[in-house]
């Protein structure tokens, strides 16, 4: 989080994390295509020739002035492929909240779990933990056949009982619900952090 007191701006960084082809970029593309142009900047995608994310996608989102302050949300995705480990670490730098995009298909469960462990590793390296860090789950591709049940997904992935959302990102289902929940989560966390800092200084 960065607070620009002079301009009354609050900058928060939200990262879409998840295994390769789980739909992280699809989420961001849907947001980019369906939001009021005055509230967004250009979407930047660093992709390979095969159109796979190799570094990140980026989109800055605003929702106007709120109580005289201007929140800005910097949305990033990470590359999901295993060999981009260092790149994921780079994109996670300074992250305030994570949307973990899991692939609901049964065949992808191990990939989901391995990627979640990978995320936890990066957070721990940065002095954070999944238990205390603000993150939410999106179970994507609910429109495809052979999906795991929500009970199974929650049992295997949602061990901290965090908010979760069903989605079919390519059709836009659940995309805004997930983003809204993430923004609320990160702002609530920032509120708590600022209160804690004030109490420590008092």
């Amino acid at each position: 989080m960065f607070i620009h007191a002079a301009l009354n701006e609050i900058h928060l960084k939200i990262v879409y994390y998840g295994p390769g082809l789980s739909g992280k970029t699809a989420n961001l593309e849907y947001v980019y295509r369906h939001i009021d142009p005055s509230l967004k900047g250009d979407m930047i995608s660093l992709t390979s020739r095969e159109d796979r994310t190799i570094f990140f996608d980026f989109l800055q989102l605003e929702v106007g002035h709120i109580d005289g302050k201007k929140p800005k949300f910097n949305l990033y995705t990470v590359p999901g492929q295993i060999h981009y480990d260092l790149t994921r670490k780079i994109v996670l730098s300074g992250v305030d909240s994570i949307i973990f995009v899991a692939d609901s298909q049964k065949a992808r469960m191990e990939d989901n779990i391995n990627t979640l462990l990978d995320l936890e590793k990066h957070l721990i390296q940065d002095g954070k933990t999944l238990e205390e860090f603000p993150w939410i789950l999106q179970y994507n591709k609910r429109d495809l056949p052979d999906c795991e049940t929500l009970d199974t997904l929650n049992h295997r992935l949602n061990f901290y009982n965090i908010p979760f959302f069903e989605a079919a990102a390519t059709q836009g289902k659940g995309v805004f619900n997930t983003l809204k929940a993430s923004i609320k989560e990160v702002v609530a966390h920032a509120h708590a952090r600022l209160g804690e800092t004030r109490r420590m200084r008092a």
Binding site: F2, H4, A5, A6, I66, D67, S93
Partner: protein
Amino acid sequence: MTFESHPKRLDSVLTRRQFDEVLQCLSALARKCRISAVFLVNGSGQILAEHNGKGPSSAGLAALAAGSYAASREMARLLNETPQFPMVLYEGRNQNVFIASVAADCFLIVVFGRESALGMVRIFTRKTIEELAPVFGQTEQEPAPDGMIDASFREALNRRLDQTFGPDSE
């Protein structure tokens, strides 16, 4: 202070006084070197201050430069080059982009054209970094202003999110 030393990590709050000081430094650099634009950016890609005369759109450039800055830091680590590469230069036909480390998690993006000499940009950027050092010294001590994020802000934001993205759906 040199490019190579990083005594302070930029904290999460920039006050009006610090912002004004930073802007003065950036404006002076722009004037002396006749550069198109200069941005002070943190490691998350957030712009702390900018002097952007006829320069490029800023948020995307800052995000890309933050990625480049972080990638060069990781490359330095892999090569045992410590603390990190002090600068990255993208040299184009008409435009150049110079990224220079300022503090542990903060850097300058200097965009300049053919009317500016690289040597001069390097010298004055180094001087600007020295001038910025005391600002970062203060920044670590600054608390967030009261009421920046409070219950009222959160309620208003939630209403705005519903207006912007629509109410929650199944």
